[in-house]
């Protein structure tokens, strides 16, 4: 049980017995239309110290699999098959028997650290309770162990912090606590369900390191469930790809990434935007949407989206079978793909290639922001509010955006990127600085009519299309609303709605449907159509793709590129996912604590990042390629984004800067006391960064 595997040496499976064996696991949930099979026969073996990555999109059944293994499914769900933990079958055990296993032999790390800790107990108490469930410890002894665990997972000052409550921790710190709880009783199996999805990339890298450390400490086998192919590439030993409730491909990490054999895996990999150096490869979207588990077609569930499907694929669902030299694949044409005679992307599909952002020449300036400042007062006291500080959310931000151009604002949460966007959309005189939209300075517009006129030029696309669209309005009414607001006539509205639907690539028949009846990708297209209704010049996109699955995301990226080309729009994109930003932006501005620390053309910035923060941000993103992921040099930032309430006098990044730690005394002095001025990189016009040391 003490076997550990390091990342550079993932291969040798020493002949140990598996700690966890799952055989033909089936899980179904009751629904109005009869039982829905969320998991349809999943099976695997997990050896101690090894990591199995389960990759799938939403609705593929990966979370249900995790909860099924833990015995935490809602009581209404039915489960069959075998979950053998150390030779004991967990399926069919009652809650009492299972509670003796959970936490002791299997630990689980959940997705959202913000909601997975009980808010009214201190983290020390949570850990102490977790220990005392299975071990006969005094409160005092358990508390001591809790403090040691907090220390192990990298909580600074653990003795003091054990008394703190979850809300006093940041997201990354809370996830460390959740991991500490999962490993408290040294389980032999760890299940991590999307452990880093809710976190910033820089924090994600830290948490993955903690998870690795926890696994090494306990020697546990890890089931890592994620939608992010990059995360599993660098982490897992074996990978299983899930689609519509089944494993469609299961192989070692190197084999899988070298030659993905199930067409779905291959297309999924091709649809992932990447940031690794070299040229930007075209994104190939998978057409269509993942099937809903309630309504599965006969035959292979991927057949309708597959470019190389045969008639036989639609008749019967292929079983998962061994393909020599690769692993297990559920595809009739697996051998052809495996030996390289068949391209799973299909022969004719390359026409839909993403041409990359084409700069539409130097258009007119649509948005000019100069020295924008936005602060929020921090108050204390219930009755009489007194100001105890100021939060500098946006601090002297300047940029320019021309027609036909996309500017991506990137940074961790709390960096001020969304505040910048909202300031632009607010259409009021900013606290300090200037905002100019299509040649009109925002502060000078007084009358309500002029503001409404200006509003037509700026529209927003929200992050979560389900939350942004009124669930009680059908699509045509959703699209008519902005047109009615600007006083269009009935007939004009009808023709415009038709135009809009065609523009975003939707059929006119969706007009009668309600948002709930649409898929995620269709909903986001409606969100875009609604924003385009008033023919704006500037579109503000707030995390437009983060709520979408990878296979759908690529289609929306391509749509955005086409709309920009056809309509000459300017996009202001806020996103935390640098890989996505790379595919839609012409220029990128990296924000840190309300400052733009580096800005430049997308490709220059990616190939030659100058600011240490940009470098760290870029290197934190996992690359979906196991070889490169293991060998590449990574800059893992220490700590998390500090509060914008106490800005350092000098460079805002000084506390976390890796260059600062290496720099000489004179440079350090300047970093601490003098705010770095923007510098232009020689030979790269438009590439500006603010750093003393680089």
């Amino acid at each position: 049980m003490t076997l550990t595997t390091t990342r550079t040496d993932p291969a040798p499976p020493t002949g140990t017995d598996p700690v966890l064996s799952v055989r033909d696991l089936r899980i179904s949930f009751p629904s109005e239309a009869g039982p829905v099979e969320a998991v349809r026969g999943v099976g695997f073996d997990l050896l101690p110290g090894r990591t199995l990555g389960i990759v799938g999109e939403s609705g593929s059944g990966k979370s249900a699999t995790a909860l099924g293994i833990m015995g935490l499914l809602p009581p209404s769900a039915t489960m069959s098959g075998e979950v053998l933990l150390g030779g004991r079958d967990l399926v069919g055990l009652g809650d009492r028997e299972l509670s003796g296993v959970r936490g002791k032999s299997i630990g689980m790390v959940f997705q959202d650290p913000l909601s997975s800790l009980t808010p009214i107990h201190s983290v020390g108490r949570l850990l102490r309770d977790a220990l005392r469930v299975h071990q006969n410890l005094t409160k005092q002894a358990a508390w001591e162990q809790a403090v040691e665990l907090l220390d192990l997972v990298g909580i600074p000052d653990p003795r003091e912090r054990a008394r703190s409550f979850p809300h006093e921790f940041s997201g990354g710190m809370r996830q460390r606590v959740v991991i500490a709880m999962a490993i408290a009783n040294r389980p032999s199996v760890l299940v991590a369900d999307e452990p880093t999805t809710a976190l910033d990339v820089t924090v994600q890298a830290q948490i993955l390191d903690v998870l690795r450390l926890a696994q090494r400490e306990t020697g546990a086998g890890l089931v890592l469930i994620t939608h992010d192919l990059g995360v599993v590439a660098g982490y897992a030993d074996d990978i299983a790809v899930m689609y519509a409730g089944r494993f469609v491909e299961r192989a070692g990490v190197d084999e899988l990434f070298r030659r993905p054999t199930m067409p779905y895996t291959a297309r999924l990999l091709a649809a992932v935007p990447t940031v690794d150096s070299g040229v930007r490869r075209p994104l190939a979207a998978i057409g269509g949407e993942p099937p809903t588990p309630a309504d599965l077609p006969p035959g292979c569930p991927f057949a309708s989206r597959c470019a190389v499907a045969l008639d036989a694929c639609r008749a019967e669902e292929p079983a998962l079978r061994e393909v020599t030299g690769h692993g297990h694949v559920a595809c009739l044409r697996a051998e052809e793909v495996a030996d390289g005679t068949l391209d799973p992307a299909g022969p004719a599909d390359r026409a839909d290639e993403h041409p990359g952002p084409v700069r539409a020449g130097a258009g007119d300036v649509v948005l000019r922001v100069e020295d924008l400042v936005r602060t929020f007062p921090l108050t204390k006291g219930a009755l009489l509010k007194r100001r105890v500080g100021t939060l500098h959310a946006v601090n002297g931000v300047s940029f320019e955006l021309r027609a036909g151009e996309t500017l991506g604002l990137v940074g961790e949460s709390g960096s001020g990127k969304t505040t910048t966007l909202l300031e632009v959309l607010r259409l009021r005189r900013p606290e300090s600085g200037r905002i100019e939209i299509a040649g009109t300075e925002v502060g000078t517009v007084q009358s309500a009519a002029d503001v409404r006129e200006l509003r037509q030029n700026v529209q927003i696309v929200m992050q979560d299309p389900l939350g942004a669209l009124d669930p009680r309005l059908p699509v045509h009414q959703l699209l008519a609303e902005p047109l009615q607001a600007i006083g269009r006539g009935r007939d004009a509205i009808r023709t415009r709605i038709h135009e809009l639907l065609t523009l975003v690539g939707l059929d006119a028949s969706v007009g009668d449907r309600f948002p709930a009846a649409l898929s995620g990708g269709q909903r986001q297209r409606i969100g875009i159509a609604r924003a385009l209704a008033t023919e704006p010049k500037l579109l503000a996109l707030d995390e437009p793709l983060s709520a979408l699955d990878v296979s759908v995301q690529a289609g929306v990226i391509n749509l955005l590129a086409r709309l920009k080309r056809e309509l000459g729009l300017a996009y202001l994109v806020v996103a935390h996912d640098l890989a996505v930003v790379r595919y839609i932006s012409d220029r990128i501005a990296v924000m840190y604590l309300g400052h733009i620390v580096e800005t430049g053309d997308t490709e220059t910035l990616f190939s030659d990042p100058r600011h240490p923060y940009t470098r760290a941000l870029l290197s934190a993103i996992p690359v979906p390629d196991p070889q490169r992921e293991r060998t590449r040099e990574r800059v893992v930032l220490r700590g998390e984004l500090p509060s914008a309430a106490r800005l350092p006098a000098g460079c805002a990044f000084v506390d976390r800067c890796p260059l600062y730690r290496l720099a000489g005394d004179d440079v350090r002095q300047r970093c601490r006391t003098e705010r770095p001025a923007p510098r232009v990189v020689a030979g790269q016009p438009g590439h500006v960064y603010a750093c003393h040391a680089a």
Binding site: L72, S99, G100, R102, G103, G107, S116, T118, I120, M181
Partner: protein, 327 residues
């Protein structure tokens, strides 16, 4: 904590003073104590009536501000809340009746909360099971029956039981039996008299706690942190009790504390049917008999209970939610 409570208490004291004085002026304007004497035989003249009211500081010929000043000084200096238009001491009445009410209300409230919350927890963890459906149906039916009907139904059932089952301890009227001597027999006798009114008040009170606690708990039952607690090895029932319930109890604690004054003065129908001389009946009597001082004293009593309830709610919140102590 102590500083916080003291500060809160000072605020509430101010509130009570304002509310009580405002009630004094309102009562003086709208209630006419002279009407108590107008129906008497032999008929008295206006001047005679006013003269009769004068010793009780209720003479309408004296300016209201003047009367108020006398009343306030007597309350503040001697804690004497005045007399009714017929000369009965308000202090004596309230002193006796508040104890009678307390007997009735405290037990009934505790029972309502315990029964209601327990049912809420039991049914929430079995949502849509038969136990949930049945108890919810019963609760909704009980909720819609007027208090007087419930009380009378309880009385009829008790009489039937007394007659057919030969029971003799279900008293349907009064707070105590006459001619009972000694401490223990008195307590026993009072407790037996309490059974039926307490049952009535509990039936009326538990439903609210059952339904709100059920929905509050349902909100937290499927929270991620309950699942995390289960993942550490707690059974579902343990995880609900230790993690979900405590969070879901916070709003209930607040509502219990604030409902205390309402029950104290609101149990009129139960008191009337079972013949108890509690605060609820006193409140109605003082208004109908144009008893200015009695009305004001009842209002002050209710205000004081509200304040105590609010402070208790604060303490309960701090006890249940340790986060409050941090900030």
């Amino acid at each position: 904590m102590l500083r916080h409570v003291t500060r809160k208490a000072a605020g509430w004291l101010l509130m009570i003073a304002v509310a009580t004085n405002a009630t004094y002026f309102l009562a003086s304007w709208f209630l006419d104590p002279r009407s108590n004497y107008q129906g008497q035989r032999p008929v008295r003249s206006e001047a005679q009536i006013d003269l009769a009211l004068a010793p009780y500081n209720l003479d309408p010929r004296v300016p209201v501000v003047h009367r108020w000043w006398d009343w306030v000084t007597s309350v503040v200096l001697r804690f004497d809340w005045g007399k009714s238009p017929t000369g009965v001491s308000v202090n004596g009445e309230i002193g006796y009746r508040s104890l009678v009410s307390a007997e009735l209300v405290v037990i009934a409230t505790v029972l309502s909360v315990v029964v209601g919350v327990a049912l809420g927890v039991y049914t929430a963890s079995r949502q849509y099971g038969w136990a949930d459906r049945v108890s919810q149906a019963v609760s909704i039916v009980v909720f819609n029956i007027p208090a007087s009907v419930i009380a009378l139904a309880v009385v009829f059932v008790a009489i039937w039981l007394n007659q057919h089952a030969g029971l003799h301890f279900l008293y349907v009227a009064g707070e105590n039996s006459p001619n009972v001597q000694g401490l223990l027999p008195t307590i026993g006798d009072r407790l037996l008299h309490l059974i039926l009114p307490t049952l009535t008040l509990t039936l009326m009170g538990y439903v609210g706690y059952h339904l709100t606690q059920r929905s509050l708990l349902l909100d937290t039952l499927n929270a991620d942190f309950v699942r995390t607690a289960q993942a550490t090895g707690l059974t579902r029932a343990q995880a609900i009790r230790r993690h979900a319930l405590r969070t879901a109890l916070i709003p209930t604690a607040t509502s219990v504390a604030f409902s205390v004054p309402a029950i104290f003065t609101g149990a009129i129908i139960t008191e009337t049917i079972f013949g108890w001389n509690g605060m609820g009946r006193y409140f109605v009597q003082t208004i109908s008999k144009n008893d200015v001082h009695g009305t004001v004293a009842t209002a002050a009593f209710a205000a004081a209970l509200t304040a105590i309830g609010a402070i208790l709610a604060d303490i309960a919140t701090v006890f249940l939610d340790p986060r409050v102590r941090v900030s």
